[in-house]
Symmetry: C2
Subunit: 447 residues, 2 copies
Amino acid sequence: MKKILEHIDDSMPDLISDLQTLIRQPSVSAKNEGIEKCAQLVSKMLRKSGIKSEILRLKGASPLVYGEIKSKKNPHRTILFYNHYDVQPAEPFELWDDPPFSGKVKGNKIFGRGSADDKGELVTRIKAVEAFLQQTGDVPCNVKFVIEGEEEIGSVNIEKYLKKYQTKFSCDGVIWEFGYVDAKNRPIIGLGMKGLLYVELTVRESIRDAHSSLAVIIKNPAWRLVEALNTLRNSSGKILIRDWYKEVTPFSKQDLQLLSSEPFDESSFKSEYGITEFVNGKKGLQVKKALAGDPTCNIAGMISGYTLQGAKTVLPASASVKIDFRLVPKMQPKKQISRLKTHLKKHGFSDIDVKVYHGEAASRTNPADPFVDVVKTSAKASFGSYIVNVSNAGTGPMHSFANILRAPCISIGSTYMYARIHSPNEFARIDLLKKTTKCMCHILDGF
Amino acid sequence: MKKILEHIDDSMPDLISDLQTLIRQPSVSAKNEGIEKCAQLVSKMLRKSGIKSEILRLKGASPLVYGEIKSKKNPHRTILFYNHYDVQPAEPFELWDDPPFSGKVKGNKIFGRGSADDKGELVTRIKAVEAFLQQTGDVPCNVKFVIEGEEEIGSVNIEKYLKKYQTKFSCDGVIWEFGYVDAKNRPIIGLGMKGLLYVELTVRESIRDAHSSLAVIIKNPAWRLVEALNTLRNSSGKILIRDWYKEVTPFSKQDLQLLSSEPFDESSFKSEYGITEFVNGKKGLQVKKALAGDPTCNIAGMISGYTLQGAKTVLPASASVKIDFRLVPKMQPKKQISRLKTHLKKHGFSDIDVKVYHGEAASRTNPADPFVDVVKTSAKASFGSYIVNVSNAGTGPMHSFANILRAPCISIGSTYMYARIHSPNEFARIDLLKKTTKCMCHILDGF
């Protein structure tokens, strides 16, 4: 391993240059800008590093770049790297200090849209494999790359790809596309993600807005929506839909231990958002338990009638609300949708239109899985310390991988927590890219 | 009177020409376009008709045109005509068949912004006075004109003008600026208007929007707003704010008789708005009672978070709602605001910001007032029939006139119900202008 790690140190200029090449190829999935070109570029980069590569396609989907290298000495164990080559739109351009696709290096930072999310992470995986190939002519285990082009628009086709190429993608462990490093340079080993159910409820009453003096005889859809919403949860945030929590299981002892040791700076979080207390006055472990394991019913958007400056007396024709429900393991999106619809019907709101945008189950890797130990040991070796996170509070398609490929999924990587991903002046830190590349080498070696 | 009425018949070309002159002078208060010019023009027109005129001013307000002519034979009775010379913006211009300030005559119609609202009404009043002056050298009673320039932006200074010029404007009866004629050519004699309290409630939680995964620990202001709203009224629309209805008095027997005889076409109203039933299944007299006399709490606008196309998972930093409360006689806006604030505080919502945009009391003239009989007799003489409306469901500054000048206010006039006021191709009907001018002559004569 010493040789391999030295190789990483020596080849950092090459890693930086490859990352710059990737950044300089815009690949904005939301606008279908540069997607095909970037897929070709990534495929070429894999081949340049000695990894077999091909581009997989599904009708109506962006191309998926697949890479594979077999191990001679250990052909029975396979690790899969899941990443994406698409990026968020770079707007607003005027807030960038340098052009958003510059890949400009300043000191320890490489700037540009995608530098951290997810092109920086991707190069660390590729360069780890390359180091083994160049130094030993082999890899410590089989390696597969699944690099999609639609992550930033909700991974709309990843499940279809996984199902179609289930055998091709089969593996014993997945390293997730991202991995955060906190302000104290500790990598966060992520064992899970929450699920999500995103719906829009709409109430329509009349065919046009009316003068509000008519509110005495025409029903107001905004009021009806408010009434319906008020049946969904109580003021503590408890969801009142029947059986909503039925499949929710409590944290295991091991989960609770992990949560207890997970750091969370309450006061800096509060000042960041300008709030004085958490939901229901939560503190300490309660906060961490909530982030990892509480289902939510969140109003993400709500609109009706006149919403500009000043006063206008109008009786709106319709009202609508967007709600995202975060789900925890064992909650099935389809079952939850049907529970929501039943709830509305039972409470006399069957006239409310329910549009479902997105349903995704939660995923959590068992902390006792041997793969977790491999990642912990690797993180320790490379970063000196680590934090294990039971579940990210957010959502990603981890469940599809865990479920279809039947493999544990773990996130570990190089993204500095305040790297401005999705924002202007996004950057990757070179020191963290190096540590992560070494961490990937340890993982491959220990797998 | 025969001579007077014949004079009206003969001088219709002159009335039409004067109305065209007024229409051709744009006077859009919302944009402060042509306001001063139009005030001068109206003042000149009053003088041309033999009425003394001056322009009154208040700091920061648009000029108010005042006109006066004293009666020699009956100097102890005074009627006041309240009108406005400003108009709504004419946009969207492209939907007009002719330029919006053309004053073009086609058959029985004169087109242009302000042709009906309110320049058409204004000329009928001026021409009625002129007819008496030209035919008899006198008027049957004193006549005063109060013609403001800010009606279309909420009559923001009319109360100040009324208070400052209380003695100058003193009178025994007010003819209101508008008056509608229904599809069966029946003028509607309006005895009242509702009051209005317009507020905006805002809940702010954090200083910025957050990722919605944080909804487990950061409170959602939209939910808090929904909870607060739900305490304001029940699902039947009854307002739950303590003492909200305290001053509301029931309809008198006479009001109920008037309401019973007032026509209201339920089925054509329903099809106009595409609704299948009225609030709480109201029918017949209930509908008419509601329009004339029910206070409301109407959500005019509501907004929070992401409201564009598709799904975005966000935890909004703030949420707000605009509410208009219609008030009925004896409900005082200031008292109601304080009741609303007390209610919010009592229910634990003292963090909700309450912004008051507008407060205006309701006004109703007693149907037994002798002035009502004068107007009814005049309408009958001129139109052949009439409808008496206890109160318009909408709001206007009638209360300020009734209260400060201590005079009964009645609306009667020439505006065809479907004259597209505030819309493209607004028009005035020449037949109705003639009938209304004659009606005004009868009112002056009978007062």
